[in-house]
Structures are given as C-alpha cells and as structure tokens.
C-alpha cells in the first residue's frame, strides 16, 4: 500500500505515528521519501520536505 | 481560673429559666427520636449507614445552648446530631443526608451521613479523618481575634481522637494566642473498641490542659444543665478575651460505634445496661418531671411532636430526588460552584 501503518515496517524501518498519518492524509508513497533520521528512518521533516519539494520523478 | 487548672465543672449554676430547660430537653428528645429512627431505617434496609449520637445529647445540647447560635462558630464531629439540631439543622436535613439525597445541606449527597455542614449557622463542613476540625477551630479563633469580634468557636471531638497530634497542635495554638476557642471532648469511653486507658495515661482528657497551658474542666456529660453551666462560663470567658478552655464531658456510648459495628466482641452487655442508667434523656426527664418544670402531659406532647417531625422527615426524604449525575463532577473549584 501507499501508506503503511505506524510501527516497524519490514522495508522502511520504523514508521512513526505522525509519518504514517501524514502519508495517509497526503497520499505520499513513503518508498520515495529519503529518510534522514536515526538509521535512515523517515522523519516527519522528511515527509514535509518531500511534500514541499517533490523529487522530479513525481513532479510530472 | 488560672491556666493549667483542672477542676470538676458545674460549680456555679447560671440562671436557667424553665422555658430554657424545656427547650434544651426538647432538642435532646428530638435528636434521640430521630437517631432511633435512623437505626430503624437501617434495619429496614432503607439506608446503608448510621453513626449514632445516642447517649451524647446532653453534652451537645448543653454546649450549643451556651453559644450565640448562628453567630458563634462550630467545627463539629460526626456524633453531633443533637448539637446540629440546636443550630438549625432539621430532621428533614438529616434523613435526606442518610439517604444521600440531593437537597441535604452537608454536601448535596457527596458526603456520608453525619458529616455535618450548615453554612447558614456557621457550622463548618468536616471530614471523616478525626481531629482535622480542631486546627480549623484555632484558625477561626485567630480570625475572630484579628477582626476584634466578640465571637467564639466551639469544636467537638471524641476522646480517642485527642490522641492525634493534630488536636494537640490546635490546642497549643489556641493557648499560645489566647484564642476564643472551646475544645469540647465528648468522652464516651470508647474509640470504636478501644477504651480510654489505651488512648491516654491521664485520667481525663481535661487533664491534658495542664500540659498545654489552658483551663481544663471535667463535667458530667449526662447532665445537660451541668454542661450548660460550665460551657456558659468558659464561653463568657473566651468571649471577653480570656482565652480558650478544654472541657471533657464524660458519658457513655450506648450504641455500637456505627451500624457497621458489633460491640459484643469488646464489651459486655452488662456494662452497656449498667451505663444506660445514666442515659441523659432519662436523667433530664427525671429532673424536669420531679422539679415540675415539665408535666407528664407536656412530655407526651413533646414525644408526639418529635414523632410527627421524624415521620415527616422520612416521608419527605424518601420522595426527594437523588443528585443528578450531571452534577457529580462539580464543584471541584470555586469557579464551578453553581448556586441553585
């Protein structure tokens, strides 16, 4: 699915509740978001940055 | 009287009119009949709990009548049904509280019965933990003194509860600052099951006065007029700036501690029967009948008036509504007080 639930995700590592919620609400595909948190975790900031400046592949 | 003196009270009888005597007796009788009805209601399963003042009416009425009721202040304890009735509490108020009905004046159904409060009579709300009312009385006494008023404050307590440091600290304050406080100990000889000699190493709670530097007096707590006389004296003294006094009124707790108690485990039936001979109602009735202050007919009339009032109270309370759940969360803070 586009937005995994909060918790440990096999591929993405730990998805925090706020990241899960933002992904769900904003329809973000988290596999496209680069994680900058501990151990490469996707942080809330990462999602917000992604939404503010989507990478070219998605900008179309 | 000099500080630290312990004497047996009742020395100088005040002038007491026949009418006043009848009025005192009336309050004792009403309290007794109401109290007895509470036991009946409990047996009938109509109420869950009762804690009784039976046997202590003389001390309470004698004390109340020595006050300027409604002006002076009182921080009472749970056995003070008769005292509260003298202050304006009604039988309806009492039965309402027994049943936890909304209209009861102590707490709107929040507190257990016999946790008195009557704002209009300056009778302060009290709690179950014993002796906490004693420092309140000292504080009220302090406020009276600060405002240079001529009021006094009466605080009552059981003899067992004088073991609490709380009580000692309160009396100490009143003694140091010569506050207009009367500490009345209703010594009914038991604290639930524990007799007085396991509470204190002195013979009377009045003896505690000498260690705290105030007057201490013992009085026969089954004799309403003796209590009234002593109380009138010490109230006058306090009112005129003479400082606090400690009075022990000795009587006997005729009933079990409460409706939850079974007193057979800790005292004999013989002991109880023996002590019933000094039932304050009997004592006063005999005195009044023999002295002609009360006729048999007047007594009968009083009895039926009391019964009517008690009947009315029960009928009224049974019909009265419980508090609404919507009110349960309030008022935790003054901002939430909603006056009806």
């Amino acid at each position: 699915t586009l937005a995994p639930a909060a918790g440990r995700d096999r591929d993405l590592g730990f998805i925090s509740p706020v990241v899960a919620r933002l992904a769900r609400e904003q329809g973000v595909d988290l596999t496209l978001v680069k994680g900058t948190g501990e151990g490469g975790r996707i942080t809330k900031k990462d999602v917000l940055a992604f939404l503010a400046a989507p990478p070219p592949a998605q900008a179309e | 009287m000099k500080a630290g003196n312990t004497s047996t009270g009742g020395a100088k009888q005040m002038e007491v009119t026949a009418e006043l005597k009848r009025d005192m007796f009336w309050h004792m009788l009403l309290s007794r009949r109401l109290d007895e009805r509470a036991w009946v209601l409990h047996r009938q399963g109509k109420i869950a709990f009762h804690i009784s003042g039976i046997g202590q009416e003389a001390a309470q009425v004698g004390a109340a009548f020595a006050l300027r009721r409604g002006e002076d202040w009182v921080t009472p304890y749970y056995r003070d049904l008769a005292l509260m009735l003298c202050l304006g509490y009604t039988p309806r108020d009492f039965v309402l509280s027994l049943m936890g009905k909304r209209e009861e004046p102590n707490s709107g159904g929040r507190q257990m019965p016999s946790h008195w409060s009557l704002r209009s009579a300056n009778a302060v709300s009290h709690s179950a933990p014993v002796a906490t009312q004693a420092p309140h009385a000292a504080g009220i006494g302090l406020a009276i003194k600060m405002r240079k008023e001529d009021k006094v404050v009466l605080t009552t307590i059981g003899e067992g509860s004088t073991s609490q440091g709380e009580w000692y600290e309160a009396v100490n304050w009143a003694a140091i600052h010569a506050l207009p406080v009367i500490f009345l100990v209703e010594n009914n000889q038991y604290a639930i099951s524990v007799p007085t000699d396991k509470q204190m190493a002195v013979k009377s709670a009045a003896d505690k006065a000498c260690g705290l530097g105030l007057d201490g007096r013992m009085v026969d707590g089954t004799d309403v007029f003796a209590v009234y006389a002593v109380m009138s004296e010490v109230v006058a003294k306090a009112r005129s700036g003479g400082g606090p006094s400690l009075i022990e009124a000795r009587m006997y707790r005729i009933t079990p501690h409460s409706s939850d108690d079974d007193d057979r485990s800790y005292r004999t039936r013989e002991e109880v029967e023996e002590n019933k001979k000094r039932d304050p109602i009997l004592v006063a009735r005999t005195q009044l009948l023999e002295s002609g202050v009360l006729s048999a007919r007047e007594l009968e009339e009083m009895e039926s008036r009391a019964k009517a009032m008690v009947d009315d109270a029960v009928a009224y309370a049974e019909k009265a509504p419980y508090p609404a759940v919507e009110e349960a969360a309030y008022p935790v803070y003054v901002e939430e007080v909603r006056r009806a």
Partner: protein, 333 residues
C-alpha cells in the same frame, strides 16, 4: 475434584488473615499494631482471632493516631522487630505520610545501609462500598513515587496470602494495599501452609493478542470480566495483573505491548497524576516503536473523592462495562 477440596476456597480477607497468622507463628518478631486490631479483630475483621492466639503484646491496639502507628512501627523495626502496621482505611494514612516518606523510605539510603526498616503497612483501599470521600480512596500513586518503598496490591486470595507473606519477610518497608470491595467478594483457592508470591513480578492473567490491559486490585478483577465480554465479541484481550506497583515489572509490561501494540491502563484512583500515568509514560517511551494506537487510561474522574450518593458513586467508579467500552474503542482503532 478431590484435590480441589483439599485446597480450601476462601475470601481475600481470610487469606490476608491466614498470612499474618502463619507469619506470626513462624517469627516471634512479627507483631501487629493498629486501631481496633485487638479484641475487635479490626473493623474489617482482618485480625480476628489473632489477639486470642498471640496476646496483647503482639496484637496491639494503638491510640487513634496513625503517625504514631507508623513511627512506633519504624522504631521497633529498627530494633529488629517485624511490625505489621494496620491503617484502618487508606484514607487515614496521611497523618503518617511524613513518617512513611521521610523516614521509612529514606532510612536505608540515608544511612548507607546501616539502618533498615523491615515493616509492612497494610491498608484497605478503594471505592464502590458507599464510603463517600473518606472511606473510598485509592492512595497508591502517592507512594509509587517514593524510592525506598515497595508498593503491593493483590487482586485475589492466593496472591494476597503469598504476597503478604513476602512483604512480612521483606527487609524493606512495604505498603500493602488491599482492595476492600473485594474482601468478601473475591474468593479463590488458597493452600494452607507455606508458599509465597514474590514481590516484583507482574502476572499475565489472561493471554491475548489484540489489546493489553494493565490493572491491579479490584480493577483487575473487573478487567477479567470485561475481557470475557470482549472475547465474546471476537476481541482477544491480554490482561496483566501488576501486583507489585513499585518497583514495577517493566519487562512484563513492555513485552505485552510489544505483542499487542495497544495498551489500556485501568485504575479507580483519579486520572491525573495517578499510577496509570507512569505506566503510560513508560510505554510511550520504551515501547513507542511497537505502538499501534494511543496509550489509553481509564480511571476515576478528577474530583476530590468518590461521592457517597449511589448515582454519584456509580458515575465515579470504573466497572466492567466501562472497561469493555474502552477496550472496544481501542480494538477498533
């Protein structure tokens, strides 16, 4: 069936009494002190018979003064005795607060281990018995904040006996709060004679996969009832009886949350600053990455006490229905 008969079923208060009786028989240093504990056998009759058996020197009717019950107990414990102090109702423990918090709790640390206070303070707690503001209180949260104390609450007769025996033998001060509504209501099997339940471990009293509930005392009893309701609705609830509230068994709590991902804490004490806060905070910090839902607390409302009048008391008290409702909501999240 034969074995069931050999293990007598009894009430929680009978188990409490049995524990004290056995410990007094075992160790002459154990004694009881409190109000009305002597000939009266305690107002809840927890000590009935002990006065006759052990005499007035070991079952002492104290003056009506809780501070001194505890303070004298501490003194005796310093001397090497093993006092069991009874506070008649938990509501009346505050006069002894200074002795408990300033003295009993701090004695070992402040003397670098030279002085210790092997003492038990027993007190019936909790509401739902028509006791109003001052005969219904839950006071555990005041003491689960105090290092140096141990705080224990049994939820059934077996644990009551086993934990109380452990408490009497514990070399530290132990606060032992008994759910008084359950005194005669909660029955269970209690073997005679020697066994103890260790202070420390929580117990998973019902294994489940969907939601974890952490409770103790009467609320644990109710939670098991609520869990049955939920089971009928297809929700598999795990129930953990905390038993020792302080120091708490973090591992069992976190393991359960790691499994279910959802946590509810139930107590009858009022919510804010109650014991549930610490459990919720612990989970939020240490099992955060396993959480699948907000950590929920079900507790008494933030009023100064349980009101007396029945409709108000019912409004205050958590019960199996309220717990079930909270569980349903959490399961659906």
């Amino acid at each position: 069936m034969w074995r069931r008969c050999a293990v007598p079923e009894m009430t929680l208060i009978d188990a409490v009494r049995m524990a004290m009786d056995e410990e007094m028989a075992r160790d002459p240093n154990v004694f009881i002190v409190g109000e009305d504990v002597g000939v009266r056998g305690g107002v809840f009759r927890a000590t009935v018979g002990l006065f006759d058996k052990y005499g007035p020197e070991r079952v002492i009717d104290s003056p009506l003064a809780e501070l001194s019950i505890v303070g004298v107990g501490i003194g005796a414990a310093l001397y090497g005795m093993r006092p069991i102090c009874e506070i008649q109702f938990a509501d009346f423990i505050y006069p002894a607060f200074n002795q408990i918090v300033s003295e009993a709790a701090k004695m070992c640390y402040r003397s670098n281990g030279d002085w210790t206070v092997p003492m038990v303070i027993r007190a019936p707690y909790g509401g739902g018995i028509g006791g109003g503001l001052y005969h219904s209180q839950s006071v555990e949260a005041f003491f689960t904040h105090v290092p140096g104390l141990k705080v224990v609450i049994p939820s059934n007769p077996y644990d009551a006996k086993g934990l109380l025996k452990s408490a009497v033998r514990d070399p530290n001060p132990v606060m032992f709060f008994e759910p008084k509504k359950g005194y005669r209501l909660i029955r269970g099997e209690v073997p005679e004679g020697e066994y103890t339940v260790p202070i420390g471990p929580a117990q998973v009293t019902r294994a489940g996969a969907d939601v974890s509930v952490f409770a103790y005392g009467m609320m644990h009893h109710y939670t098991l009832q609520a869990a049955e309701k939920l089971a009928a609705e297809g929700v598999d609830v795990e129930v953990v009886d905390l038993r020792t509230l302080y120091p708490v068994d973090r591992e069992t709590i976190l393991a359960s949350v790691r499994k279910t991902g959802k946590a509810l804490i139930v107590h009858e004490d009022n919510l804010t600053g109650g014991y549930g806060a610490e459990i919720a905070a612990t989970i939020a910090e240490h099992a955060f990455q396993d959480l699948d839902a907000p950590v929920r607390r079900l507790a008494g409302p933030d009023v100064p006490g349980v009101p007396f009048s029945h409709p108000l008391q019912d409004w205050f008290m958590p019960n199996p229905d309220k717990i079930a409702a909270a569980l349903r909501e959490l399961a659906a999240f």
